[in-house]
Structure formats: structure tokens, C-alpha cells
């Protein structure tokens, strides 16, 4: 009897360990996480439309049916990132996520400079380079220091009613997600 009791107790302890392991490991091994979904959507360094307002189906769950969403994957080991979009919309917000879908930075049209969507994301090495020789563009941009190299940018823009459809589409499809060149002082030897 006592042995059966111990067997059950050990079973329960194992259950607790298994449970903890699963919960802690899911973020690393989830195959349907947001990054995996965006990978199917399109190439990195360009915005793809994730959802348009009123669409019945969307790639990501829990999206707001009043919003249009575009996403762009980047890799800072290749180059710093520059994101730009133009258009006068009543509300938009931008957020940078790391590879695991965790939010690193976010801002909206009111917290941006002149209500323009222009940001430059860099890692710490690139930040040092930018500090040394600040490019002229960097003055107008929101400079984001990213603690992760791989990640994605998400733009969410409000469509108050269908009359805004064209403007919203233009805003999202013309949004730029580009490699941003920091001017190096040294010349590239491979040129000659």
C-alpha cells in the first residue's frame, strides 16, 4: 500500500517536471509561432500584408478587424534597418519584435517625430558607428537600439471606415523596409 502511494507521488512529481519543461520550452520550439508564419508570407527586407481590415481570415490570430497590418523580417547582422511609410492616417503604430515574437520597441503616430513613420534600428555595434559619424537621415528618424539581430517590424494602421481603404492600402504597400547604409570611413579594397 505504502509502495503504491510512493509510486503515485513520484508520478505526480514527474508530472510537475514535465509540465514545467513543456511550458518553458514551448517558446523555443513552437513551429507555428509568429516568425514561422511570417516566413511563409514573404521575403525578408520587404513588407508583406498580414491582414487587411474586415478580412475574415488572417495569418495571425487575434488581429483587430478594423486594422490593416504589414510585417517585414530583418537581420541586423546584414545591415541596419530603415523603415519608412507615408500617409495621413488617423492612427498607426509600429512595433519591433525579436525572433520569438517578443516586443522590443513600439511607438505610434503621436509619439513619433512630426507624425512621420521613419525609424532606424541598429544593434550595439552599429549604434557605435552611428554615434561616430551620424548620418544626416538619423536626425529625423526614431533610432532604435535592438538587443536582437533577427526580428520583424509590424505596422498596424487603422481604417475607420471603408472610405479610407485606398489610403490605408497605399500606406501599407508603399511602406519601405530597407537596409540602411552607414557610411564607412574606410574604402572598400575589393573595389579595385
Amino acid at each position: 500500500m505504502k509502495r503504491t502511494f510512493y509510486t503515485v507521488v513520484i508520478g505526480l512529481v514527474l508530472a510537475a517536471i514535465v509540465h514545467l519543461l513543456i511550458v518553458l520550452l514551448i517558446p523555443s520550439y513552437a513551429t507555428k509561432d509568429s516568425w514561422a508564419k511570417l516566413e511563409k508570407l514573404g521575403e525578408p527586407w520587404r513588407f508583406s500584408i498580414v491582414a487587411l481590415p474586415g478580412a475574415s481570415e488572417s495569418l495571425l490570430p487575434l488581429v483587430d478587424p478594423s486594422f490593416g497590418i504589414a510585417a517585414c523580417r530583418f537581420d541586423l547582422t546584414e545591415s541596419p534597418l530603415s523603415v519608412e511609410a507615408h500617409g495621413n492616417l488617423p492612427f498607426w503604430s509600429v512595433a519591433i519584435f525579436d525572433r520569438r515574437g517578443r516586443n522590443i520597441y513600439s511607438f505610434n503616430d503621436r509619439t513619433s517625430i512630426d507624425r512621420h513613420l521613419f525609424l532606424i534600428a541598429v544593434n550595439s555595434i552599429q549604434m557605435a558607428q552611428i554615434r561616430k559619424t551620424p548620418p544626416a537621415e538619423a536626425e529625423k528618424a526614431v533610432l532604435v537600439l535592438s538587443d536582437t539581430n533577427q526580428g520583424f517590424v509590424l505596422i498596424r494602421a487603422l481604417q475607420p471606415d471603408p472610405t479610407w481603404k485606398k489610403r490605408l492600402n497605399r500606406f501599407l504597400t508603399e511602406a519601405k523596409c530597407e537596409r540602411f547604409d552607414i557610411v564607412e570611413e574606410k574604402t572598400d579594397p575589393s573595389d579595385n
Partner: protein
């Protein structure tokens, strides 16, 4: 032989219970890191790096992209104020106020987060800016299958659903929060018999 059965028992309890418990905890609303106001629940930390492990697992497993702190906050409600699940065929009033925000939206979703009702784009969601309000800023939204005067959020079909209210650019997340935030109350008006 006895030892073999004991090991088997340990494994069945351990793997079985551990697995079921994990599945349950990430698929359902859980209290870790949750902000509860009336019938509404939000996970203000959902998108951040210091979220609790359960919230992180839930976000990763669902593949959702949470709102960042200066974007907004998402509230879910699955029950009315008496604790009964919300049903598509029933009529409800959502009335009161929301915490301050530049704008907010309310929409109807399935439990897994997909939107309910195709081609209902005009009625299956409402925007704070187009809402009819009383003089003190309070509002009442009727959530029902049948058309209703005033603010109407249309449902169609049968079964359970969740209401999602998203506050955008709200001091609830962008600053240190606000004291005693207020959320609208969900009351059942009746179900067709």
C-alpha cells in the same frame, strides 16, 4: 514484474498529467500576469520580455503578435457579469466606460481568436469614434443577432464567443498605469427560447 508496473504508472501519470496540464494552461485564460477588471482580462506584459513563462508559452503556441506598450492593450471577455459564457444567439448590453485611450475597438471573436462571421465587416466591430454616447461619456452597445437602435454589434450563428476590446494609445500601458480603471459591464438581456 511489480517494479515494471510501478515504473509504468509513474510514466503514465507523469507524462499524461504533465502534458494535459500544459496543454490546458496555454489554451485557456490563466491568471498569471493578468489584469482583471470586471468580466475583462488583459495581459499587459504579453508582448514584453519580462512576461511570465505561461504568458510567453501561450503567445508562442498561438503564434500571436501582442500589442506593444505604446500601441495598446487587449481585453478579453468570455462571460457576462453573472459568469455565464457569452452565446452568439443571445442578446447582451455592454455598457459603461473604458479607461482613457485615444481610440478603442470592440469586436467578436471565436475562442481561438479568429473573427466570427464572414462579410459582416460593418457590424461585427465598432469603433470608439463612431459610438453614440450619453452626455457623461457612458455608452451602451447592444450585442445581438437582431438589429437594434443605437450602437449595435451584430452576432450571427450559435455557440460561445469572446468579446475583444482593444484600447490604443492608452495611459494604461504607456505610463505607469491609472488608478482604478473602469471597464464596461456585460449584462444578459435574454436568449430566444
Amino acid at each position: 514484474m511489480r517494479v515494471f508496473f510501478e515504473i509504468l504508472t509513474v510514466l503514465v501519470i507523469g507524462l499524461g498529467l504533465g502534458g494535459v496540464l500544459s496543454l490546458y494552461s496555454i489554451q485557456n485564460i490563466h491568471g498569471f500576469g493578468a489584469l482583471q477588471i470586471g468580466q475583462w482580462t488583459a495581459w499587459p506584459q504579453a508582448g514584453s520580455q519580462n512576461a511570465d513563462p505561461y504568458t510567453k508559452a501561450k503567445v508562442a503556441a498561438a503564434g500571436e503578435v501582442p500589442l506593444g506598450a505604446s500601441e495598446g492593450i487587449v481585453f478579453h471577455a468570455k462571460t457576462d457579469k453573472t459568469g455565464k459564457r457569452l452565446l452568439l444567439e443571445c442578446n447582451y448590453h455592454v455598457s459603461g466606460r473604458t479607461p482613457p485611450a485615444r481610440l478603442w475597438t470592440i469586436s467578436i471573436h471565436n475562442d481561438d481568436g479568429t473573427t466570427v462571421g464572414k462579410n459582416l465587416s460593418l457590424y461585427s466591430k465598432l469603433l470608439s469614434q463612431t459610438l453614440v454616447r450619453q452626455q457623461d461619456g457612458r455608452f451602451t452597445i447592444t450585442v445581438s443577432p437582431e438589429a437594434s437602435p443605437g450602437n449595435w454589434l451584430r452576432t450571427r450563428g450559435n455557440g460561445v464567443y469572446q468579446l475583444i476590446l482593444r484600447l490604443y494609445d492608452s495611459p494604461l500601458t504607456s505610463t505607469r498605469g491609472i488608478v482604478d480603471p473602469e471597464m464596461p459591464e456585460i449584462s444578459l438581456l435574454g436568449c430566444p427560447s
